[in-house]
């Protein structure tokens, strides 16, 4: 079956949802150590809403960018919280990036990661080292950009994106939170992985599985 780009993205969101659901309790436990223990629930709610919205759409006649736009509003309306605006803005930026090229080539996939990171940065006014999801997204973007520069294939690129994101998320253990509710804890946030960075890795892994599988066909 040759899927169009919209269907591939829908499958990607579906995989993300399953992966987030599986890691829900773990994410909430991480959040309980430094926050209010709802990160897993919030993320799961958001991606469930994205799935429910995408299920209603006629994907065969949609562009990839439309899928991200629909995902943005569904996620935002369902979630609010802080992850709502952050990921909604990320999805909107991804939609804008895809309007240049709707085909989901390896370069297009890298552009998605880069645009999402830009959106999260803008909305949250954050940067690397704040102990947030950006500590996974920024290294992931750097890996994507450099993979593009060396004209790596999709599978190769996603492998390096995920490795960079995992290393970035792990590095949040040794950081003191600068943003979000955990920031109020000061040095007590030391030693715990940031739940936002952990969920970013889950998302990127599901993206890798989706695009990597497509590339293998």
């Amino acid at each position: 079956m040759s899927d169009n780009a919209a269907r591939r993205l829908s499958r990607m969101f579906y995989r993300i949802s399953i992966a987030i659901e599986a890691g829900k309790d773990h994410l909430s436990d991480l959040d309980g150590a430094i926050g209010d223990a709802d990160h897993g629930i919030t993320m799961s709610l958001g991606f469930m809403a994205v799935n429910a919205e995408l299920a209603k759409l006629d994907l065969d006649h949609m562009l990839a960018s439309d899928v991200f736009t629909a995902a943005a509003s569904a996620f935002l309306d369902a979630v609010g919280a802080s992850t709502g605006p952050l990921y909604a803005t990320a999805f909107r930026r991804a939609a804008q990036a895809l309007k240049q090229d709707e085909r989901l080539s390896a370069a297009g996939q890298a552009a998605i990661v880069e645009a999402m990171t830009t959106g999260i940065k803008e909305r949250g006014k954050g940067q690397r080292g704040d102990k947030t999801m950006l500590d996974a997204w920024i290294p992931a973007t750097e890996a994507a950009v450099s993979a593009c520069a060396r004209a790596a294939g999709s599978r190769d690129m996603w492998k390096s994106i995920l490795e960079a994101a995992e290393a970035g998320a792990n590095s949040t253990r040794s950081m003191v939170a600068a943003r979000g509710r955990a920031a109020r804890l000061g040095e007590r946030s030391l030693g715990h992985m940031d739940p936002g960075a952990a969920s970013a890795v889950i998302i990127l892994r599901a993206m890798k599985d989706t695009f990597g599988e497509d590339a293998a066909k």
């Binding site: 899927d3 269907r7 829908s10 499958r11 579906y14 995989r15 949802s17 399953i18 992966a19 659901e21 599986a22 890691g23 309790d25 773990h26 909430s28 436990d29 991480l30 309980g32 150590a33 430094i34 926050g35 209010d36 223990a37 709802d38 629930i41 919030t42 709610l45 469930m48 809403a49 799935n51 429910a52 919205e53 299920a55 209603k56 006629d58 994907l59 935002l76 309306d77 369902a78 979630v79 609010g80 919280a81 802080s82 992850t83 709502g84 605006p85 952050l86 909305r123 949250g124 943003r179 979000g180 509710r181 955990a182 920031a183 109020r184 804890l185 000061g186 007590r188």
Partner: protein
């Protein structure tokens, strides 16, 4: 791990093998407490409390042994494969379509006709889903009748069953009248039939009939339906729609020509679930698709492979949020919608990577008044809207955006507040005359989304601008900022005061980084009074900023809170520890200390407050002693007593005080103390009359 001898055993609590006068030698299972606990639990079927007594350990430890034993593979729980598969299909359907619930009948049991099996499953589900006081709209069909024949739901009170469509002169067994009657008798409910034909000869006749008082009253009853039960019909040649003679076949052809794939409650839909316009629309008497969608619980019961496109269409259109079907149909629906993960999921189920070690005193069972934990916010809001109907009403039917009945008016600055739930009576209790005009409501401890906040701004706007007042949390700031951007696009001027009263949350030099907690109470009161007095947007903003700068709060938690969805504590605290500097979201505090006396705790807080407030003798303050949820008034008064002593010793007068639940954190044990350092202007605004569900002045 050393297991103590079973000396802690209590009289009569042991059910296994305790003969009179003889203490049985406990089986130690190679000194493995996990195996021992599991044996007692799964084989001897003892309660965790009894096991704790026998093993001489705490019940929480037993609980963690049992959980660990499963994680380590000591205990394996297996499900019968066909049941597991139908369960997985149900889960996938639920997830994929965002359903409230889904029940899938195993497909391998072909002893009875599918309609009977679906009817039986739905009959059981109905017993769980239907509650006293419900109004259930019932459509017609073979499956619905099968439910009526098999259901028996005793013990309900005040259930009304309303026929969802008009009737028919056709003489089949499952007419709308008979279906509604069968369900009504099964649930012992009051039956309301629609005493008009489902399809009449012309649009004029329909309009005339709908104006008839009797039929009007029947439709009024239908409009009250909070639950709906219906089948889904396909438009295949042998389907009920064709064979029943319910519809004229000429009309059916016209709907088919327009790509109709199914019928829901007598209305035609296409593959995406959109209504299909056709010759019968103006001549149909019955529930509309829009009205059906607005019903809270929409239970569809349908199965059979030929119905896959119709059921998929109904799901896509959002007409269904509880689906009862069979495994083959469920799998077909998922495959038709491009879901292929199911099969691989059946073979490899995701394993939880639980790297966060839980302490052994971790309690896993917390009791709460809940129905479905996922519905906790909606159900609370449903109750709130009913309880406080005198003060608030939903904006455009949404319980997430509530507006004051007597708040917004032309020429007045609108005040919009909001935030996550779990803080009740914050924030919705402060909406009414003289206080906030509208409130945006989020999920538990989560900011509402921008769309909801904008709806509030729009409803609160009286042409003089809108003031947003909310606590300083990253999520709230982002969502309210996005809402302000939307408001600007609609020419509503928005100013924002982000509250930062929690003095424990950041040092003084980072005042702007502090979070907003129970002191919101005072900021809302001052802002509401300023708006009610008709001050300009500038003036309202300025005085609210002043109130924020002069409000000081500090909280202490004794025990953590638990979230309804996890029913677990969101952090752990030692038996003798307290958290000073606790926020209102159950975030851990800033310092953890040993438990101390009420006066010592109050002094710690008041010392910090005085150091920032720098009061002079003769100053006036307002005081708020606020429970985090589980701390009773008794203890709050003890705190207030000491606060009053400390203030009096500095010759500070308490102008006004409030003691109670004003900004909670679910069921957290703890309290916060807030002091508002008054001046003349703030004193005047504090005494300005207001009338809301929770706060009344004047």
């Amino acid at each position: 791990m050393i297991v103590k001898a079973p000396s802690a055993r209590k009289n009569g609590t042991v059910r296994a093998g305790a003969e009179a006068g003889t203490e049985p030698i406990p089986l130690r299972y190679g000194d493995d407490p996990y195996v021992w606990a599991c044996w007692l639990y799964y084989e001897d079927r003892m309660t965790q409390g009894d096991i704790a007594d026998i093993m001489g350990i705490s019940r929480a430890t037993v609980n963690s042994y049992l959980a660990d034993a499963r994680a380590r593979g000591i205990v394996n729980i297996s499900l019968e494969p066909s049941r597991l598969s139908s369960l997985s299909i149900a889960q996938e359907l639920k997830r994929h379509f965002g359903l409230h619930d889904c029940l899938v009948v195993p497909s391998d049991d072909n002893a009875r006709p599918l309609i009977d099996r679906l009817g039986g499953a739905a009959a059981q589900a109905l017993a769980k889903l239907l509650k006293s006081g419900d109004t259930l709209a019932v459509a017609w069909g073979r499956t619905v009748l099968a439910i009526g024949e098999q259901a028996s739901v005793p013990g309900l009170q005040d259930v009304t069953v309303v026929q969802a469509t008009g009737g028919t002169r056709a003489s089949f067994a499952y007419t709308p009248e008979l279906c509604a009657a069968a369900i009504a008798s099964a649930v012992d409910g009051k039956l309301i039939n629609i005493t008009a034909p489902a399809v009449v000869s012309t649009a004029e006749v329909r309009d005339m009939l709908l104006r008839e008082t009797l039929i009007e009253s029947q439709f009024a009853a239908l409009a009250k339906a909070n639950k709906a039960l219906f089948g889904i019909s396909s438009l295949r040649p042998n389907s009920t729609i064709h064979t029943s003679g319910f519809f004229e076949s000429v009309s059916l052809q016209q709907y088919l020509a327009k790509d109709a794939v199914g019928v829901v409650a007598g209305r035609f839909i296409d593959g995406q679930g959109n209504p299909v316009a056709g010759p019968l629309d103006d001549r149909t008497i019955g529930i509309s698709l829009d009205r059906l969608k607005a019903i809270g619980l929409r239970i569809a019961v349908a199965g059979g492979f030929d119905k896959v496109p119709a059921i998929l269409a109904a799901l896509r259109g959002g007409y269904v949020n509880v689906l009862i079907t069979d495994a083959a149909t469920g799998r077909g629906i998922l495959n038709a919608d491009g879901v292929t993960e199911l099969d691989q999921k059946l073979s490899q189920r995701p394993r939880l990577d639980n790297t966060v070690a839980l302490p052994s005193n971790f309690r896993t069972h917390i009791k709460k008044f809940l129905n479905d934990p996922d519905d906790v916010v909606e159900e609370m809001l449903d109750g709130v809207v009913k309880a406080h109907a005198a003060y608030i009403e939903p904006i455009k039917g949404s319980h997430r955006a509530l507006v004051a009945r007597t708040g917004p008016r032309p020429g007045k600055v609108g005040l919009v507040i909001g935030g996550g739930t779990g803080h009740e009576p914050c924030f919705l209790g402060y909406v009414g005359k003289g206080l906030a005009d509208a409130v945006a409501v989020g999920n538990i401890f989560s900011s509402p989304p921008p769309g909801t906040i904008f709806q509030c701004a729009n409803a609160a706007s009286g042409g003089q601008g809108v003031l947003f007042v909310y606590g300083n949390y990253a999520g709230d700031v982002m969502n309210f900022e996005m809402a302000a951007e939307i408001a600007a696009e609609h020419n509503i001027e928005v100013r924002t005061v982000v509250t930062t009263d929690d003095i424990a949350s950041s040092p003084l030099e980072d005042r702007e980084g502090r979070r907003g907690v129970a002191g919101n109470f005072f900021m809302f009161k001052i802002a509401g009074a300023a708006c009610d007095r008709g001050l300009s947007l500038d003036a309202c903003e300025a005085v609210t900023r002043k109130a924020n700068a002069r409000t000081f709060t500090m909280g202490v938690a004794l025990e953590p809170c638990s979230l309804p969805q996890t029913r677990r504590h969101n952090f752990e605290i030692g038996p003798d520890d307290i958290e000073i500097g606790m926020g209102i979201h159950g975030e851990p505090g800033v310092i953890r200390e040993r438990m101390m006396s009420a006066d010592a705790i109050t002094d710690r807080i008041m010392d910090r407050i005085f150091s920032e407030m720098k009061p002079a003798a003769g100053d006036r303050v307002a005081v708020l002693i606020n429970s985090f949820g589980a701390t009773p008034l008794m203890e709050l008064y003890i705190l207030f007593r000491r606060v009053a002593q400390r203030l009096s010793a500095k010759d500070i007068t308490i102008e006004a005080n409030w003691v109670g639940h004003y900004c909670t954190s679910l069921d957290m044990v703890g309290a916060s103390i807030t002091v508002l350092h008054l001046d003349n202007e703030l004193t005047e605004l504090l005494h300005h009359p207001c009338d809301t569900a929770v706060l009344r002045v004047g």
